[in-house]
């Protein structure tokens, strides 16, 4: 007997209904028009299997629709799959696809999804983000070249039925399927023209908007896809994405009315923005953590007292209030609050100790470890080039100075920074992580031994690893959450990373724009948006 998992029918039906209602309401506001969006970065590609950044997501995310897709609040709702069932053990999903077609009229079938999943995992494709799908049985082996793509456990039972088997129960799987790595790509076009399939004359999509023109470093232009199954609900006729990265210039363009939505703004402008554009400035909690990994394998950072002291001596509130000022949340845990099935993240036990006392405790810890005024702790703090990273690092270094630690600042450009982090060539460095999907595992796996390079500090705690392994095979969401919380507790005790703050999303949205809803993943699908 197949059991339905938490994301129940009722909830989906209600969400879908609300979505339709909201869209209809929005749709009755003046329909049509062109929305001009500053997506804040040039896409590396329009092929969903080749992209890996938020800026590409803004463009590609309305050209294709996966098995599930997002509603205006970025919650997963049915996409190409109109319904599904899940097995008792949570490892087998069977999707029933709706009748739909590609933008050239070719009907969409389950085979398109089989082809797409095999393609992104095929080592020949060299897709950067393929590892996100390793939860699918056989995916890792295929991507490593150890098995043929056909061995992937994604099978078309018939034209409208797709079956996917997972390696373990993953409550986040339906949310994961909204991610662009799981988008379908047109087999019939790719087999014909290969790499050229993303050129405007060839490109075929299954989403609400299709490609008109892409001039590199200028703009990407999309227009309504009439073959989209829900095309009547679409308000905007056209979308133009400007890819400029200079945030000061983008802000000026917004003020001059040349842009309707800017997906980022410079934090140091917040004072000015709150005063002059209060209704257009949108700040919301954003699922990510800004932290300083410590290289726990080099002396003296093998000593937990030193790591703890460094973490305690940072006045996160001062950083958030004075340096950032955009309402970020001081972080005392690794996982941000508000993550699905994870009510309260585990925080450090000294969170509520007043700062002055913490400084003293930190100095004492350092003294215990053998460091003091006549033997100051000296090391290098690395960060990659960016205004914010610099200001936070400067502030932190001055806080460490207050407890007698001499930290030298070392700024390198992003390639060098991450190359060195990969080699473990650092002592303390700056890093950040934005969630790929709404689940604590996406954060906590960064501290597992088997994770490799993304565990920058190479923290290795067998107890932690075991807890995470156990959680992976537990289908009871309560128990699973508990196990992960216990693991997080270990990490907060050991402080292999110093959490600094949890992100906020920063957007500028013109008052003419309707349907742009703040959400913790900062995902905004333009199909729900209209212009007043």
């Amino acid at each position: 007997m197949k059991r339905l998992i938490r994301l129940s029918w009722r909830r989906f039906f209600l969400t879908a209904l609300m979505t339709v209602a909201m869209t209809a309401a929005a749709g009755t506001a003046l329909a049509g028009g062109t929305l001009r969006v500053a997506s804040m970065g040039e896409p590396a590609s329009l092929d969903p299997h080749k992209v890996s950044g938020t800026w590409e997501n803004y463009v590609v995310g309305d050209m294709f629709v996966g098995l599930t897709t997002e509603n205006p609040k970025a919650e997963p709702i049915p996409g190409v799959a109109e319904s599904w069932t899940v097995s008792e053990d949570g490892k087998t999903y069977t999707f029933k696809l709706r009748q739909s077609s590609w933008s050239d009229g070719t009907p969409m079938t389950a085979n398109d999804f089989v082809f797409s999943m095999q393609r992104i995992l095929d080592p020949e494709t060299a897709a950067e983000y393929a590892s996100l799908l390793y939860i699918i049985e056989g995916a890792e082996a295929v991507n490593k070249g150890e098995a043929k793509p056909e061995s992937l456990s994604v099978k078309a039972l018939d034209d409208q039925t797709l079956e996917i088997k997972l390696t373990g129960p993953a409550p986040y799987f339906l949310a994961l399927l909204t991610h662009y790595t799981a988008y379908p790509v047109p087999k019939h076009v790719i087999e014909k023209v290969g790499k050229e399939w993303t050129k405007p004359q060839n490109m075929v999509v299954n989403g609400p908007y299709k490609l008109v023109e892409w001039i590199p470093n200028t703009h990407v232009k999309l227009t309504k896809n009439d073959k989209y199954w829900d095309a009547e609900s679409l308000s905007l006729d056209n979308l133009t994405f400007y890819t400029q990265e200079d945030r000061a210039a983008v802000q000026k363009r917004f003020r001059a009315g040349e842009i309707d939505v800017a997906m980022d703004f410079a934090s140091d402008q917040i004072g000015w923005l709150r005063k002059n554009l209060p209704n257009e400035t949108r700040i919301a909690p954003y699922m990510g953590i800004y932290y300083y990994p410590i290289n726990s394998s080099v002396e003296p950072f093998t000593d937990v007292r030193i790591r703890k002291a460094l973490s305690m001596a940072i006045n996160r509130e001062a950083i958030v209030d004075k340096v950032l000022k955009t309402g970020e949340l001081a972080a005392y845990s690794f996982v941000p609050p508000g993550v699905a099935y994870y009510d309260k993240p585990s925080e450090v036990d000294w969170k509520d100790v007043p700062f002055g006392e913490r400084q003293k405790m930190a100095k004492d810890l350092l003294a215990e470890a053998g460091y003091g005024p006549d033997n100051p702790l000296e090391f290098t703090l690395r960060y990659n080039t960016s205004e914010n990273h610099k200001r936070i690092a400067v502030a932190v270094v001055s806080m460490w100075k207050a407890i007698g630690v001499k930290a030298e600042l070392f700024n390198s450009e992003v390639k060098v920074h991450y190359a060195d982090l990969k080699q473990g060539d650092f002592q303390v460095a700056r890093a950040g992580w934005i969630a790929d999907y709404n689940d604590a595992q996406n954060f906590l796996y960064l501290l597992e031994t088997r994770t490799g390079a993304n565990n920058y500090g190479r923290y290795s705690n067998p107890e932690y690893d075991q807890l995470m392994l156990d959680a992976e095979v537990t289908s009871d969401l309560q128990k699973r959450g508990e196990m992960m919380r216990k693991a997080e507790m270990l990490a907060m005790r050991d402080q292999p990373v110093i959490p600094i703050y949890h992100y906020v999303s920063k957007n500028l949205v013109s008052q003419k724009v309707v349907g742009f809803e703040d959400n913790p993943q900062d995902i905004h699908r333009w199909r729900y948006v209209s212009l007043k």
């Binding site: 000061a248 410079a266 001062a318 400067v394 700024n411 450009e413 060098v416």
Partner: protein, 303 residues
């Protein structure tokens, strides 16, 4: 300009004559320079800036790398708190940082230009003096290097060798020496043909002595002028590198870094841009006016 009459007693007098003639040339030039009001004013301004930079720690109670947690980040100029230029995005006093920035910017300008001077003059004088095939090959190399996009190679050097401030000097100097070499070589070639060189040759003065005692003093004029005009260029190049994020490491700062930060906040925190930019502009103006003055002063054809 009058020269002392030739002393006809012996051939040694020729060398003597040359020296006497040279000295009055310099005096003449100095007179002309100091009558150039813009140049004089510039020299005074520059001296003030240098003095302020050297005396920076004495001129303000704030350290250049300590945030003032009690005040706004960034905060406008505030006389009570002794933040005469205000504070930057990290709450650090801008007046002190502008002066420390002066140190770095001026140092970079002078040292990089000196590096380019050293390489360029040696290279150019040698090529010009030796002449012939060696000159051809040496200048060919310069032509090839000229065909490289400078900015790209500076960036590459910065990226390969890290952000050591010493390497910034070397990288910038290594890129600017080409024009210096060309100028020096041109001068060396034309001076080489002059009669007094032939005379010195005839007398038996060694090649090395000819280069150091005769060619270089005559070449020095354009070289000095070029130097005073290169320094501002180097300072600007350093500020461009800072804009790209490749400048000096924190907590050190330069005008380039300060201005890049200020430009991003020109509306919300204009003091962050105005003060360092003013210092930069004035300094660059000074160097340019001094350079122009020197050129006018040293140019023999000028009335």
């Amino acid at each position: 300009m009058t020269a002392e009459p030739f002393k006809r007693d012996g051939l040694a007098g020729l060398e003597e004559a040359e020296f006497v003639k040279g000295r009055s040339l310099w005096q003449d030039a100095r007179r002309r320079l100091f009558s150039n009001k813009a140049a004089v004013a510039s020299m005074i301004f520059l001296a003030i800036v240098v003095l302020m930079a050297v005396l920076a720690p004495l001129l303000s109670p704030w350290a250049f790398d300590d945030p003032d947690w009690g005040y706004d980040f960034p905060g406008p100029p505030n006389l009570e708190l002794k933040h005469w230029f205000g504070t930057d995005g990290n709450g650090r006093d801008l007046f002190v940082r502008t002066l420390y920035g002066a140190r770095i910017s001026l140092l970079v300008g002078i040292i990089a230009t000196s590096v380019s001077l050293l390489i360029g003059v040696t290279y150019g004088a040698t090529a010009g003096f030796i002449g012939g095939r060696t000159d051809n090959i040496m200048m060919r190399i310069v032509d090839i290097l000229y065909s490289l996009p400078f900015m790209f190679f500076v960036i590459l050097l910065m990226v390969i060798f890290g952000r050591n401030i010493f390497l910034i000097f070397v990288a910038l100097g290594a890129v600017e020496w080409l024009t210096m070499a060309r100028i020096v070589r041109g001068q060396a070639l034309s001076v080489k043909k002059k009669e007094f060189i032939e005379a010195a040759h005839a007398v038996g003065v060694s090649g090395a002595k000819i280069i150091t005692r005769h060619i270089i003093p005559n070449v020095l004029g354009p070289v000095i002028v070029y130097m005073t005009l290169t320094i501002p260029q180097v300072i600007l190049t350093e500020s461009f590198l800072s804009f790209l994020g490749l400048g000096v490491q924190e907590p050190l700062t330069s005008w380039g870094v300060l201005i890049s930060e200020g430009a991003k906040q020109m509306e919300s925190a204009p003091w962050m841009l105005i003060f360092p930019a003013l210092f930069l502009a004035v300094t660059l103006f000074c160097f340019n006016f001094i350079g122009d003055g020197l050129r006018d002063a040293l140019d023999p054809k000028d009335r």
